[in-house]
Amino acid sequence: MSALLDVLTENLDEFGGGLWVTLRLVLGAFVIAIVVGTMVAALRIAPSVWLRRLGGIYVESFRNIPLLVLLTMAYAGLRRAGVPIDQWTAGIGALGLYTAAYVAEVLRSGVFAVSKGQIEASLSLGFGYAETLRRIVLPQAFRTVIPPLGSIVIAMIKNSAIIGVSLIALNDVLKSARLVQAETFKTEEAFLWAAVGYLLLTVTATVGFRFLERRLAISR
């Protein structure tokens, strides 16, 4: 048991640094995922068929390509094309845009949960499309999709581990474990601590979403 603890205490800098990198990656990607995901969801339910199609193309392309391929294209691909993108922009951007596709789909399902009557009522009262969406539909949609959104965020935190494995090679939690493993050959211990690192983040996210859920719940 103490040998297990030693691996952590002797490599605290490495593991701590990894946790900090992963935290920044997922926070950045979360913001992008929510913002872009909301915009794409709006496209998906827009009155114009072309806008709906545009949203559909976004969701299908980002959801149907493996994250590792997206990350490689965002980094090596763009750099080859002459865009001097750095590790952080490529990592956060690709993870955020990838997750946004799932967020958009969940939001869309939330929008469908708002009864059509409310939208008709809003429109007949003189609200425009954007206003109806912003004031009537989306607040209710967000509330109903909080549980599935929580699942998406947890999946995103775990998916972030691929960034360290890809060409982007940021020193995140998983990478820190691999660096410790390479240095000390203590494979099981290093990866166990990586699991603990990810658990810290995912459990925090779970608690946060449960709080939001309770806070925003409609009393029934």
Partner: protein, 297 residues
């Protein structure tokens, strides 16, 4: 009806078996004159050599993307290179098939420990630290640590110029420590493989790559817009890795290597994979394991 169903099931099982067997066959190299019972040596029961002979194959971990030591030929699908030649020599001596699996810098030692591979021949430098986890053969090749940059880059002429620059190397290689010590102000990017490093140098994400000269030379053969700079940083004796404590198998591997060096196969293999590209002649290494280990401490 019941009988019919059984027949289908049997057919399915057989088909799966055939497909699997065919699939596994891909990386198997039947050694030239192995298998014929009159040349195969006999070993005492209980030794690793006997076990491997009974199994009919020896699993060898090599690199799949490090030319000219272990690289998967895209045309034939076979793995080839200097390390692969040595692996075949071991299999030939046992009279069994050599099965090559990919071993990366950071999973090769776990592979030996958990029995995934019997031998590791993946450009692995002998170090005292690694020697505590596994056993090393005598050095079969001695490489030198160097730095690779783009030909167009005049700002890096040696290790001292790496301060403030980004340098790529493989995760789990000796160069992580070497760079930390010799170029403490450089930013080290540790990736999975040297082919990843090559991509990062080519697309400008890093300024330089540091590893063994022979690996870097292999990359320059592929892309002549790259060059080596500076003096040699380190001496890197390569050893075969085997499971810790298996002294009989270690002695056997050393014997195979000694024969390989003595009978001219080493020189032939060197010329084929390295010499003809670099124009440089090299003798088989005479360095002992003890000397190799002393280098790293």
């Amino acid at each position: 009806m019941q009988k019919m169903r059984w027949r289908w099931l049997t057919a399915l099982v057989l088909a799966t078996g055939i497909v699997t067997a065919a699939g596994c066959g891909d990386d198997d190299e039947s050694s030239s004159d192995a298998g014929s019972t009159d040349t195969a040596r006999t070993f005492e029961a209980g030794t690793t050599m006997k076990k491997l002979q009974d199994a009919g194959e020896v699993t060898i971990g090599v690199k799949f993307d490090v030319s000219p030591f272990g690289v998967k030929n895209p045309t034939t699908g076979k793995v080839e290179g200097f390390d692969v030649d040595l692996g075949k020599a071991i299999a030939d001596e046992l009279g069994v098939k050599a099965k090559f699996v990919e071993a990366l810098s950071d999973n090769r030692i776990p592979f030996l420990k958990d029995g995934t591979t019997d031998v590791i021949l993946s450009t692995m430098t002998i170090t005292a630290e690694r020697d505590e986890e596994i056993d090393f053969s005598d050095p079969y090749f001695v490489a030198e640590g160097r730095i690779l940059v783009k030909k167009s880059d005049d700002s890096i002429k040696g290790i001292d110029d790496l301060a403030g620059k980004k340098v790529c190397t493989a995760l789990g290689s000796t160069y992580e420590a070497t760079l930390k010590k010799q170029a403490p102000k450089a930013t080290v990017r540790a990736v999975d493989s040297y082919s990843d490093c090559l991509e990062l140098v080519q697309n400008g994400a890093v300024d330089a790559e540091s590893t063994d000269d022979v690996i870097l030379t292999g990359q320059i053969i592929q892309d002549d817009s790259l060059k080596l700079v500076g003096e040699k940083l380190t001496t890197e004796p390569y050893g075969a890795g085997i499971k810790e404590g298996d002294t009989e198998f270690l002695a056997f591997v050393n014997e195979v290597f000694q024969k390989f060096k003595d009978d001219g196969r080493w020189a032939k293999s060197y010329e084929k994979w390295v010499g003809q590209f670099t124009g440089e002649d090299r003798e088989p290494p005479t360095m002992s394991l003890k000397e190799a280990l002393a280098l790293s401490t």
